[in-house]
């Protein structure tokens, strides 16, 4: 095609392109680049073992597909959430989350709808999804954020972080914030340093929840409550933004 003819074409833009299409396009680019670099660009993430049940609607990991020795995750029993925000308070206190600059590690989202004239409320707790294929880890230029090889928790090495905020842009869940005090990016780390290191078995948010919305545990442990909930037959389980292919480890259900 002649370049002069192309110039006459109207630019359609990328706004209306579905995410999957864009991903396919990017993947193609990455594959090509990968060949040039020796084919290992995507293997920056240590989660090559991770896979889903090939159900694009849920992305629930298949039985036996938990790549980490202690594969931590969280189940949110969403319909039990009452937005009391005791989890938010407990998290802020335990992890010294600043009150300024939009810093947050966990939050409750609210959706208000009107049904037959009556107001309906829905609450949804959100936090870092500790994805098996974390986009934030993939984009970090200094490897300051990485998957903890023991637990699969997405953690920060504050000393390595240069504060470029690329990970903030990459995160599909907007789960990262810039910590002015540490002068580094900060995020939820399932209380790995503040509670798990002390031998506690639950995150601060899960422990504080009066309605037992948040069930934290090791997916590898077949006796754990989270394993039982996730593998209860005929339970509808979903994750947030499955279309990103990040394979999150925070699962939602109504129970």
């Amino acid at each position: 095609m002649n370049i002069e003819d192309l110039e006459k074409e109207k630019n359609e833009g990328i706004e209306n392109l579905p995410l999957q299409e864009r991903r396919k396009f990017l993947k193609m680019g990455l594959t090509v680049t990968g060949i040039f670099l020796g084919g290992t660009v995507l293997s920056l993430t240590s989660a090559s073992l991770a896979s889903s049940q090939n159900d694009p609607e849920t992305d629930i990991p298949a039985e036996g597909q938990y790549p980490y020795p202690k594969h931590y995750g969280m189940v949110m029993r969403q319909n039990r959430c009452i937005d009391c925000e005791k989890c938010v308070e407990a998290c802020k206190q335990t992890n010294h989350v600043p009150t300024a600059h939009g810093a947050w590690r966990t939050a409750i989202q609210e959706r208000l709808t009107t049904e037959n004239g009556t107001e309906k409320r829905e609450f949804r707790p959100v936090l870092c999804n500790h994805c098996n294929r974390p986009p934030c880890v993939r984009v970090c230029p200094t490897k300051a954020t990485y998957k903890d090889p023991e637990t699969g928790i997405v953690v920060m090495d504050y000393a390595k972080c240069i504060g470029c905020k690329t990970c903030m842009a990459a995160c599909p869940y907007n789960a990262r914030y810039f910590n002015e005090e540490k002068y580094a990016i900060d995020k939820c780390n399932f209380c790995i340093d503040t509670r798990l290191a002390e031998g506690k078995t639950e995150t601060a948010c899960a422990a504080a929840c009066p309605a037992r919305v948040r069930i934290f545990g090791n997916l590898k442990d077949k006796t754990s409550e989270i394993y039982r909930l996730l593998h209860t037959p005929d339970t509808k389980i979903w994750v947030l933004r499955p279309d990103t292919g990040a394979l999150p480890n925070v699962f939602y259900m109504n129970a």
């Binding site: 039990r80 009452i82 937005d83 009391c84 409750i108 989202q109 609210e110 409320r121 609450f123 949804r124």
Partner: protein, 231 residues
């Protein structure tokens, strides 16, 4: 005030003894209502601030009170005069004024109980604004309107057995929890899955959360959260 009561009691006893001695033969016959002795026969009806009915008969002929138990010290005899002062309120009664002088829970039933005895028209009587509890969790609402108007419940369906009329009483109780509701206490008395929807369902009908509470208190968006993601 005590002296006043003693005088009243004395008069009752005196009247009683006179009645027994002089009218002994007439006891079985229906006593005629004497307006001079017992006050107006037709109930007094106040329209403001809300509709209230007062029966002289109940207090004088039946309970045996004398006119000067209330007039003119508590209530000016002139019809409607007390209303012009604007002081006849439930709050004043709680302080022992007006009806509250006797209706204090000792001499007669307390003024914050048995609403429907005097408030004959309960519609519009219950608080219009929702009750908001912030303990043990933030925040739970209760709408009188829905329960009284839509389900035609009387005040005494809940007051004072299940909930004290006094604001904030339930909140102070250590057992004001969901578990208590499941055990049939508080809201659980009806919200048991039979009379009304069960307490362990439809959580967010009553739980409006911190965000709902903030909105209600008019400080919407006062605190930043990470709710930018999704939804």
């Amino acid at each position: 005030m005590n002296q006043h009561r003693i005088t009243a009691m004395g008069l009752i006893m005196l009247a009683g003894s006179l009645f027994l001695t002089t009218n002994a033969t007439k006891v079985t016959a229906a006593a005629p209502y004497d307006e001079d002795a017992y006050g107006p026969e037709a109930p007094i009806v106040w329209e403001k601030p809300t509709k209230v009915t007062f029966s002289h008969k109940t207090h004088t002929m039946d309970a045996g009170l004398a006119c000067d138990s209330c007039h003119d010290e508590l209530f000016i005899m002139e019809s409607g005069a007390v209303l012009t002062t604007g002081k006849l309120t439930m709050a004043a009664m709680a302080e022992g004024k007006f009806c509250g002088s006797c209706h204090d829970g000792n001499t007669a039933f307390a003024s914050n109980t048995k609403c429907a005895s005097c408030h004959t028209d309960v519609n519009g009587l219950a608080p219009q604004d929702p009750i908001v509890w912030t303990k043990p969790v933030k925040a739970v609402i209760f709408n009188h309107k829905g329960h009284v108007e839509d389900f035609s419940l009387e005040c005494d369906a809940c007051h004072d057995d299940t909930f004290a009329m006094q604001k904030g009483t339930a909140e102070k109780a250590a057992d004001f929890t969901m578990q208590a509701l499941y055990d049939g206490k508080y809201c659980g008395k009806c919200h048991n899955g039979k009379t009304a929807f069960a307490s362990d369902t439809r959580c967010n009908t009553c739980h409006i959360g911190v965000k709902g509470h903030n909105r209600m208190m008019g400080n919407d968006g006062a605190h930043a959260t990470g709710s930018k993601a999704g939804h």
